[in-house]
């Protein structure tokens, strides 16, 4: 399955006049969406681009499994319609690593913050956002991360966040 494709040029049957396609940048690549502008970014990423690292977990924006960065800021892809995502730069879990893993991903591996692993892409994106804002996060900052993990990986996630903070600050390689 190709990791990214241009979206098929489908014309919504219900509309006489198709809206102008929406332009969006995802992991540095340009894409166009000419479907329903209300479609959440989550389904564009998953169903159209097959960027399936961003997960579905709830219907009310509460679980965080779909966390991505929009213009570098944390967002829940299930709660961002394509009309709002258009013209912005989106980074998904697939776009986080360059030639090497992002320090947060590296910390996650070091502390094996994985059980079923389903929530972890979202947890990683939330940690990237937190550590960008707060290089030395306190307990309240960590507690404010609302991402859910059914498997109860929070003990490892806490350690991984602490380790990632060190790596990002350039301490203790």
């Amino acid at each position: 399955m190709p990791k990214s494709t241009q979206p098929p040029a489908a014309t919504p049957a219900a509309r006489v006049q198709p809206p102008a396609p929406l332009a969006i940048s995802i992991n540095g690549k340009p894409y166009f969406h000419d479907g329903d502008p209300a479609m959440p970014l989550l389904w564009f990423l998953r169903d159209r681009l097959r960027l399936t690292g961003t997960k579905y977990g709830c219907d009310d924006g509460g679980c965080g499994a779909c966390s991505v960065l929009v213009d570098g800021k944390l967002a829940r892809a299930c709660a961002v319609p394509m009309s709002a995502a258009a013209t912005h730069q989106v980074t998904t879990i697939e776009g986080l690593a360059g030639d090497t893993l992002h320090p947060v991903q590296q910390a996650w591996i070091e502390h094996d913050a994985i059980q079923c692993g389903y929530c972890q892409a979202g947890q990683i994106m939330a940690a990237v956002d937190l550590l960008r804002r707060k290089p030395r996060p306190g307990e309240d900052d960590i507690a404010a991360i609302g991402n859910l993990c059914r498997c109860g990986s929070q003990p490892q996630v806490r350690r991984a966040i602490a380790r990632a903070a060190e790596l990002l600050r350039g301490e203790r390689k």
Binding site: T52, Y56, D59, D112, I142, C151
Partner: protein, 734 residues
Amino acid sequence: MSTGIDHGRRRLLRIGLTATGALLVAPCAWADPTPNVPPELLGDDLTALGPFVRIERDSRVVIGAPACEVGQGVFTELPMLVAEELDVDWARVRVVQLPYGYVAADGGGDATLYGAQGPAATLPAALAQLRQAGASARWLLLQAAAREWNLPPEQLRTEAGTVVAGDGRTLSYGALVRSAATFTPPAQLPLKAASAYTRVGQPTSTADAQAIVTGARVYGIDTYGPDALVAVIARCPHLGGSLARFDDSAARKIAGVVEVLELPGADAAAAATGVVVLARHTWAALQGRAALVLEWQVPADAAATSSSALRASAHAALDGAGPGIVVRKDGDAARQRRRPARHRIEARYELPLLAHALMEPLNALVELKQDGARVVAALQDPDGASRLVARLTGLQRKDIAIELPRGGGGFGRRLDHDALTEAVLVAKAAGKPIKLMWTRGDDLQHDRYRPFAVHWLAASLDDHKRITAWTHHCAATPLDPATPNAGLLGAGDFPAGHVAHLEQVFHPLATRVPLAGGPWLDALRAFAVQCFIDELAVVSRQDPLRFRLAMLEATPPPAGTDADASARLARVLRECAARIDWSTPRSGGQGLGIACHALPGGCFAHAFEVSVDDGQLHIQRAVCVADIGRVINPLNTTQQLAGATLDGIAATLQQAITFKDARVQQRGLADYPLPRLGLSPRTTQVHVIASDQAAIDPAWAIASAGPALANAVYAATTVRVRKLPLLPELMRML
């Protein structure tokens, strides 16, 4: 390919070279065909998808993971067993997921052998077979090296992917694969002694960690068939209800919606219980479903299926409405209870229905063809799934290919085939491949739930602060009417045997709510028993830890108790207490709580340190100590125990499923909170007491977490919460 077969041991091994020249060792699936059929006649029915080892010419090693990973660690742990016997450097091992491997000839499959729940639940025979796969490959490589050097194989040894001769010469496995494939190993090889292990017992990271943190690992929901339509179902929200009528005209107008169908019942006579929307992509399917106008046939007695009715029937049963089922009776607790005693107390504990709420809601991809089927779904019981698909389609099981992606959580929910059943029915009705998606709402509203239970406990204590009478009545919804108390109240439950006059009575509650078992059952009674013990300690002014230890360490041990089990339980308690620094009194609103739970073959203890200020609960520390037998991957075991601890915290503090009019009232995770960092302990410490006894699943640790937390909340607040979920009750009572 050479084939070695040993009918006596019902085991079959295939050795060969792949097209790229790699050595392949694949013991066939477990049950071998009828012994009289010669191997060559078995033909294609023998699909060699048992555990396999592939060694490339450059010495890289690929090991097949035979069971579906849903977070229990099997993807890493089972291949570790193969690697151990093979003597390879784990860093050079790549693990790949095997599809479900079905052996047609005896009508049985093999995958269930490999641990539906986790390695702990995996049959010893299956574990031995995995180890044989590694040992066989190693044996072949030894023969090849012996031939190369013209030395007897007994003079050679292996080490981290190389064969080493007495004089120090070495040959890498990769250099030997061509020659190795020409030998036939004996059916049964001696396995390593535990003292010689180099990988098993070492903390080992998740084998597919890199793929997970980069988003590349494929879960069930990430599978897209080339032509598969996305299906979502509007199901009747009322238990026992059906579809009255519906209007799909608006749904059909949504761009991307392809088809709208009634959800066929499992048999032709059954009424439709829902409406299926098939669409080209998920958003269209969801929009289509939202646009349906639905009218349900609500069963006439719907009002009877409610949480308030369940609660009322439980309390009525405990008030003496029915005789109940006597589970255990030692002495005469009822008479003893009427006697004067230093302390007499009683309490009722109420525990709600719970949902599995897997992070990844159920899904299944099904492609049906004239002569076969393809299924992609994370399944904890692929063997049962294979039987089910055969029954629903009329296909032969050998023609049903089942692929096992990673699953976002299991907890036993993927032992049932609710989504798969629907997916097959829909694929049949639509005549197209389909990918069925459950949404979070579907997941919470159409689960199989943890039973509801109310416990009534009464006890007397004498002047020596010892329990003289213990009465435990439990009113709960049975999983199986034939064995009503199974899993809900057991004759071996603590403190049975430690109290002379003891009575355990079970009162089955009828319900239409579908239920599921698993470790969370133990959490029901452990909560009641371990909180009540705490209450007894408080009234009699005893230290709750010493109170428990005094019973467990009584000398001589009371007749009829298992002295070894008592000693193990006392040990986890002592370890746990030491780690939370139990003997140092806490002040300033801090409270400590402890609890333990035993089951056959193992035991657990938890301790918590908490504080409550401004109506906020803070969990400073959690300690979990587990005595659970053999451990393959200590890192995974530790995580499973920490996970069970967090699961216990979330379930105790916030979770409940409630019914009204035969319908679940919770719609989303805002109504049914899952573990998050804000309610997780600032530090969580796990300690494992390993032994060479049979392993038990660490998930059972959920049982002692809840009562230890509730006991800590009492210690911090002097508020005793007896009805879960705890947080809303605590806030009401503070």
